[in-house]
Subunit: 158 residues, 3 copies
């Protein structure tokens, strides 16, 4: 039986999402089964930027939808202003080494059959709709996450 | 034998504490044994807001005690200013969906026999006294945490 | 056979690095094998402050090298300005309790045979050279990290 890895992606930061997706892709190359559970700010990573639908949302939900990152490439760095090293500079340094951007790692994970879960409570509180996310995403409750995580060989909170 | 989950709560953020406590409560509903080990900023979550006692504290310890969050409801968001989404707005969005606030999840965890550990070194450095915390909290050293964590089925650093 | 702990140190914060190194040292005292994998901002912790070598670096790589923390004692707090509690105050509070500073925990981990890994992709993107790090550090790819982590009894993302 394959080994299994479970990642809880809580952060909505470009650099942390990059770490999570590089681990997910690499694990799949090692034939490790991977579950990614997106909660709170982590949901921004799996929004489909072309499928925003604000119909029937409350005023707060509209503000949430419109003022936050829509998909991987809009995520900020966790240390955006840290010592003046900005996201733009980091992206150019990645280009210098032909390192793929976040969107490519997300595409890779989708092709490689990573299991994408979203936290039901987070989705409800933020007012997102299922159709606003990438189609692979399944909205599940905390029990489903926990059962998956407890049976995995490793779990990280990112 | 029950499965076991161990959470190291390092962060003093409202949203991350919420994630930790939702996991703890849900795990108990699945009959999973839960240990929460509070270290550094995580200690703010388990302060009893009505039991501050600054007698015999140094000047720094008094500043620490008085200028930091006293209990769950005073914790800030990890992304307080992120895209202008503030804690107040998030709390109202939670109310719209009848989602309980952090204090209720903490009460739930206390009722459900979650094991509450605090990091001895953090407590000493910050100058807190045992009686300033919720009564369930036991102050232990890093070895006690590690032995518990190494025997658990999953461990997260939150 | 000994138990094993694997820590992925992503953060470049003084307080989180302290938590990671205290866990690493304590685990070694319990005869637990320890691997620390430093990625992204975590690399700053294992720079040797006396071995910076900017020859042949691009302009961005020079900025990265010079404007970021060089070794453990230059790391900032993750909550530097949080409620006005600064690193200087925390260090003095640590001194009041004879708690060692970060550099001592790093020295301890090096003496106690903790395995030090650095993320190859992070090192390349940031433009660091192997000789700029502490000599114990081995630069490895994500697969090497994952194989180590999957076989460990516990894994944390710090």
């Amino acid at each position: 039986m394959n080994k299994r890895m479970n990642l809880l992606v809580f952060s909505g930061d470009y650099d942390k999402a990059m770490a999570a997706l590089i681990l997910a892709n690499t694990a799949r190359e090692l034939e490790v089964d991977v579950t990614m559970f997106f909660a709170f700010w982590g949901l921004f990573l799996v929004r489909d930027p072309e499928k925003m639908n604000n119909e029937d949302k409350t005023a707060y939900e509209k503000i949430m939808a419109m003022s936050t990152p829509k998909g991987p490439e809009e995520l900020p760095l966790s240390k955006m202003n840290f010592a003046g090293v900005g996201k733009k500079m980091l992206l150019e340094m990645m280009d210098d080494h032909d390192a793929p951007h976040l969107i490519h790692f997300l595409k890779g994970a989708r092709k490689k059959d990573v299991k994408f879960y979203a936290c039901k409570l987070s989705v409800e509180i933020m007012g997102f709709k299922e159709e606003e996310f990438i189609p692979e995403l399944e909205i599940v409750d905390a029990k489903t996450y926990l059962r998956d995580a407890l049976d995995a060989n490793m779990q990280l909170f990112i």
